[in-house]
């Protein structure tokens, strides 16, 4: 029985990892279209990625959108998290906590559609700003969650301790609270960044001519050509994402701290 489960868990693992490993293998294949098993060895498809302008622009667009939206999301998360953290007796605190993180559980497609409606109404047209605002709204619950968790772990006493020793509230916050949640900031920021980078639906709904995020550029490419360039790019994205996750794991613990 024990060995049966061992085999089963190995198979499950293989199933789980194959979509991640496959593009890695295919990306080195000399064969002109996406096929398995791969044949030969070439770095041509990687070169292709760097030579294809839409990908480079897409990467740039995705990174800048992720950067700006994550930064603003974190900046907005801090005050809200702080209020929830300080005010134990806040009315309906549990409800507030849930509401702040609820968008995380919404199907992204629904959120994207609502944002398209809302953002277009509010900002007139689809623009880079609307794309950034949309991404910010998608990633904010993640940032909020991480920052609130690190504040809660810290507890309110150390801020009060600082005040009792003579610092005013703001000074206490800057001197003893902030330095102790800096891991939360880094972790929250990176989490937001990854979520934004990978948010396909929101980009799909809100992207426009000039700013096409990477996932959309990839979809567009696939509609024209079916060669291992996409596999090469996917392989690079896997490495990029795993690298970021490793950093998050090191700082706050992605698995335990975020979900």
């Amino acid at each position: 029985m024990k060995s049966f489960f061992c085999v089963l868990s190995l198979l499950t693992l293989a199933l789980l990892l194959s979509p991640i490993v496959m593009p890695l293998l295919i990306s080195f294949s000399t064969f002109e279209s996406i096929s398995f098993p791969p044949q030969g060895f070439t770095l041509r498809w990687f070169a292709n990625v760097f030579n294809y302008e839409s990908f480079m622009n897409g990467f740039l667009a995705s990174s800048s959108i992720a950067l700006v939206s994550s930064f603003s999301a974190i900046a907005l998360s801090l005050p809200s998290s702080y209020v929830l953290y300080r005010h134990k007796a806040l009315k309906m605190k549990g409800l507030m906590e849930s509401l702040f993180t609820l968008p995380m559980l919404m199907p992204e497609i629904v959120l994207s559609y609502m944002l398209l409606l809302f953002v277009c109404r509010a900002l007139g047209v689809v623009s880079l700003l609307s794309l950034i605002v949309g991404h910010m709204l998608v990633v904010m619950p993640f940032g909020m969650r991480v920052i609130y968790a690190s504040l809660s772990n810290l507890g309110v006493d150390i801020e009060d301790a600082s005040v009792s020793l003579g610092r005013d509230r703001l000074g206490a916050f800057l001197e003893v609270v902030l330095p102790n949640i800096k891991h939360g900031f880094v972790g929250g920021f990176l989490t937001c960044f990854m979520v934004s980078f990978n948010a396909v639906s929101i980009s799909l709904f809100l992207s426009y001519g000039e700013a096409v995020p990477l996932p959309i550029a990839m979809l567009n490419y696939l509609q024209i050509r079916y060669d291992p360039t996409i596999a090469a790019l996917s392989a690079m994205l896997v490495v990029f994402t795993v690298g970021l996750s490793a950093v998050v794991e090191k700082t706050v613990g992605f698995v335990s701290g975020v979900r």
Partner: protein
């Protein structure tokens, strides 16, 4: 080393939910007062009012003759030892200790002098460069105490300081705190829910219940002569019964559930009688002339050197704590008492 006075303090969060109801508290210089009560009685809120973290809706707080009601927390010069110790995790022991001194702009050499003195006093030598996470719970607590004391506060507040201490070490830590407090003669408010803790350390104990102080006096008086049912119950008077009427001829007789009890001193406003289980004894044959009730043992619970018996008597269920272990469940016995051990409570 100043004198503290709270008068008519009211704290309520929302309508109907009153945390402190016209609380009055006066503490003398150098005195250690324990605020004792169950959770939610308002003891921690009282502490936070003194610290300046909670602003009362009404009332006045005086420290050393100065009205500090409107003074913000960081200007009150009050040392606090938190239940969680609240050491700054990113600072070493030395930086934690001298934090308040740096804020006050104390010159370097004096800072060193005061820091070293408190380190010696609390036996923290050699730990200066450690981080809080590298200390044991006991060491963390002493650092927290040292950090609060080194600023030479007017008042020291301690919030359940022993709740995270190993039960076996509690008594020792308590003695240590008391020693330091005596040495510095600092007015201290000590919040706890543990009666042994409060009675063991305080000069005076204030028993709190639902936002007011029910009784405040020396530990021995609180323990031996509680004035209200709540305090009596908290001090382990498990047998409390309402008085039915006072004997018409003999004033030392009260009637409880048609049972006559002889009491030592009668208060005409008395509403309840309280009997401490440890001051009752059980006998098969009562000594002639002694006061007694008859009853049947319904249950027994072993307490090490003593046994607690539960008896069915004319008064209702009665508990007796005695070192005499040779009674068994189901036996018909007599419960003996001395009239002066029966307390008459007014509320």
């Amino acid at each position: 080393m100043k004198h503290l006075q709270l008068s008519d303090i009211w704290v309520y969060y929302t309508k109907g939910q009153q945390v402190l109801r016209s609380l009055d508290l006066e503490v003398n210089r150098g005195e250690l007062v324990a605020l004792l009560g169950p959770s939610g009685c308002g003891k921690t809120t009282t502490l936070r009012v003194i610290a300046g973290f909670v602003t009362p809706q009404r009332g006045k707080i005086m420290i050393g003759g100065r009205d500090v009601t409107k003074v913000s927390a960081h200007k009150r010069n009050i040392g606090i030892v938190f239940q969680s110790y609240a050491l700054f995790p990113h600072m070493t022991v030395w930086l934690n200790l001298t934090y308040g001194l740096r804020i006050r702009g104390v010159p370097k050499d004096e800072m060193k002098k005061r820091g070293d003195k408190i380190i010696e006093m609390l036996g923290l030598g050699g730990l200066e460069d450690r981080y809080p996470s590298e200390l044991s719970g006991g060491q963390q607590q002493r650092v927290a105490l040292a950090r609060a004391l080194v600023i030479q506060p007017d008042i020291l507040l301690m919030d359940e300081p022993l709740s995270n201490v190993d039960p076996k070490l509690r008594e020792r830590v308590r003695t240590e705190i008391k020693k330091v407090q005596r040495e510095l003669e600092i007015l201290t408010i000590y919040v706890t829910h543990d009666q042994e803790d409060a009675l063991g350390i305080a000069d005076r104990v204030a028993v709190m219940n639902r936002g007011i102080i029910e009784q405040m006096s020396e530990p021995s008086k609180i323990y031996e002569q509680p004035e209200t049912c709540f305090v009596a119950d908290f001090m382990g008077f498990e047998n409390i019964f309402p008085i039915q009427s006072i004997g018409s001829g003999d004033e030392s007789i009260v009637l409880v559930k048609d049972v006559k009890l002889r009491v030592g001193t009668m208060d005409h406003d008395g509403k309840y009688v309280a009997l401490h289980p440890a001051r009752l004894t059980i006998a098969r044959e009562p000594a002639p002339g002694s006061e007694r009730l008859s009853g049947r043992i319904t249950d027994a619970s072993f307490k090490g050197d003593r046994v607690k018996y539960f008896l069915e008597t004319g008064l209702g269920e009665l508990s007796v704590l005695t070192s005499n272990k040779d009674f068994s469940v189901g036996e018909n016995v007599y419960v003996c008492y001395r009239p002066e051990d029966i307390l008459v409570l007014t509320g």
